[in-house]
Symmetry: C2
Subunit: 231 residues, 2 copies
């Protein structure tokens, strides 16, 4: 099969690891490939960078073309450059990740023929993925785990209004361990960037929980200082 395909001299590509959270489960966005190589396989959304676009711009364009998503803030996390990671030639790929709200998003609809469909898949029990995408996924997953322990990135995954229990379930899904309810709440509230709303949960058959939202102003004020090294 390899011989029938065009060979690349050297190209860069982008692969995206997009996390979402839905029904108490952490999910990752996959596509079903519609082109060789690895036709019909599941893969991370990814494609080749154009000559006249920065890699950051390319990441946004490619994700949009393959999934229909637009305008999310992705961050580069690792570059994969083994010689034979792509059967058609030398392709070095820069991997990006993002965390998004599944609910708030429109339907996933690939724009190109390159992907047959895009869909959310639970991060547990991931099938084998095309290329070295399983490794890319694992690297990205470890990255956000570690990052979550020192930066509250989790709210990017939640709807605008959420309960503390939802937030805790998300932390538990990412960190893969149980957390203590009282300690968790105490700590989250102590940061000071959670804003308690007057609203409560609706439609549940038990005591309704208070809803919160993130106060982005306070959040950035608190955390920009920790990241900058002055001097």
């Amino acid at each position: 099969m390899d011989e029938l395909l065009p060979k690349f001299e050297s190209v860069f590509s982008i692969d995206c690891v997009i996390f979402g959270f839905d029904a108490g489960e952490l999910k990752v966005l996959l596509i079903e490939r519609n082109e060789e190589p690895f036709k019909d396989w599941f893969a991370l959304p990814g494609y080749i960078v154009g000559q006249q676009e920065s890699i950051d711009d390319a990441a946004e364009r490619i994700l949009n073309e393959l999934t229909g998503l637009r305008g999310l803030h992705m961050e580069q996390f690792h570059t994969f450059g083994e010689v034979n990671r792509h059967p058609q030639g030398r392709v070095v790929t820069v991997a990006y990740y993002a965390l998004i709200r599944i609910n708030g998003q429109k339907e996933l609809r690939p724009v190109t023929q390159y992907a047959r469909k895009a869909f959310w898949h639970p991060v547990n029990e991931l099938p084998k993925l095309a290329f070295d995408h399983s490794e890319i996924f694992n690297t990205g997953f470890n990255k956000i785990r570690r990052r979550l322990s020192y930066q509250p990135i989790a709210f990017e995954l939640l709807p605008e209004k959420f309960t503390l229990t939802q937030l805790q379930m998300l932390y538990e899904a990412i960190l893969n361990k149980k957390l203590d309810k009282r300690n968790f709440r105490k700590k989250m509230l102590s940061y000071g960037f959670l804003k308690e709303l007057d609203e409560k949960q609706r439609g549940v058959s038990y005591r309704a929980a208070k809803l919160y939202k993130f106060d982005k102003r306070k959040y950035t004020k608190i955390f920009q200082n920790e990241l900058t090294v002055e001097g």
Copy 2:
């Protein structure tokens, strides 16, 4: 000038930010370029990745050719992919860093004609560098600063035997702030991976300090657990 040079379609390159510590000062390894573009400028050691080598292998080869250094463990930290970062065409560069002992190293001697010389330069008062290398350096510097706060990577910069004051000076140079002597020593010793030697400093005109070295076995035992995410 640009018109006279060959144009690249798309290539990857490696740039290296190598930190050293000498005479109480943190330094970075630079080269003086001997080729257009940016001939005669100072730059980070960097060059183009070959078709048949992984980016990790390329990093080691390139550093060796430009500086004579060999076999150090470098780690990738960011990929720079702006369209016009290289005047001759599209060059995406993967940046690596490493920390090494200046004293233990042989003389710096470029193997290729591409660099006229390689030398250590204090990280403060860095001159303007070729391409976007100033930005690359800053990104790398911030990376090791942040990393130092949660991982004791500083040893890699010190000679095998060192005093606690030297270690503290190094931390202060990287973090760019004064530390309390007693607290610093208490904390470092509490980790348990510093081995006190029977030897003392020699040739100083004041009370000689005890020498220590790192117990690598204990060090890795302690810190491998922190990095692994079980699950």
